[in-house]
Amino acid sequence: MRSVWVFHLNTGACNGCDIEILDVLTPYYDAERLGIKLVGSPRHADALLVTGPLTRQTYYAAKAVYEAMPPTPRIVIAVGTCACSGGIFYDSYAVHGGIDKLLPVDMYVPGCPPRPEEIIYGLAQLLGLVEKKVRGETYRDEEHEFRPEAPIVDRLWYDLRQVLTRIVGYFDRETVLNEFVSLVKEAYRRSNPRQALRSLVEEYCAKEEDPRIALAMRLLLNEFETLVDRYRDEGYPVEDLLKGLE
């Protein structure tokens, strides 16, 4: 197939996927260079770009659109998680849960919403330009060795991450926390780790230009000391474990 003319069919989507489809047609992504053209009527279309979880309201409309298409090739592309399987709405009484409940689907493009590149990748696969990359896999536990390592230190790390999320958010938290962990490791190599950690954090904050990171570091120090005290009172040798960190 050289060029695919597509008709965009919304079966109750939230408009997220629809906007990504518009993105695909902008000069930056330019799907028309691949021969993909958006047409205004299903009678001119080779393919349907379906978005949405197929609500009960749109069921018969979707059927009518499919029947209005020319008998061949009648390609159906499910764009977005909703069209693939119903997504977050899969168990709602108002949806059928995916366009594959009504029509045979040729290409699934999951994503909530999918990036424009993802949609282009799906279309390019139909045109034979790229190969499929994903495949279903089954893993068994005997094939993969399991080693629970230093669970208390892990627990400490997750607790500190939770605290840090409130200040620096989800994206930057691990970078900041890794900085702090490197300070902890250095402090626990010295003779008086508590005092050493305090002075190390102070040094770090004096050098740091971003006051938000300095604040986060001081908060982490405070929280770390509280947690270590709590674990020690409960009988866990947490300071010995910290000294053994590499």
């Binding site: 998680t81 495949r135 893993y139 536990d141």
Partner: protein, 175 residues
Amino acid sequence: MSYVTLPYPFKPVEAPPEYRGKPVVDPSKCIGCGACANACPPDAIRMEIDEAKGVKRLILDVSRCIRCARCEEVCPMGAVKLSREFELATPRKEDLVTVIELKLFRCRVCGKPTEFTVRQVEKAKSLARYLPKERFEEILESMTLCRDCRRSRYVSKLVEIEIRGYVGSMGGLHA
């Protein structure tokens, strides 16, 4: 090639670092606790207990995943991560399903499969071994039982305590 247009799919592109793509479960870290299945809003991750085969299955269906990263947030082992992989389009839906099979722990008294995995017990042991010895042994004793055996053990202990209390209130056994 023109100046503005991205040459994708002829040249590969990378998703930005903050992009949340396909969730990937590390099979060497997953203990099968089901925290992710509990947290997943669209039930893209499910836990299934197969007593006949003695395994617990984690079934991750990416075609239903909305990339909210709640699973990454709640995973106690750091086993689930949302990768930056985005080239997921496929003509077959089965390509998007990942299954992890974990062996179920068998009760040390009756030998029936319990509802938790071998790895969960290993993890709990590694956490409890820092406790005082008596507490560790006490925990280990109740940890390695199935639900029914644990219940009967609890009831028999309760009965023992009740009888002792009753007899004690009558002035002891030899009164």
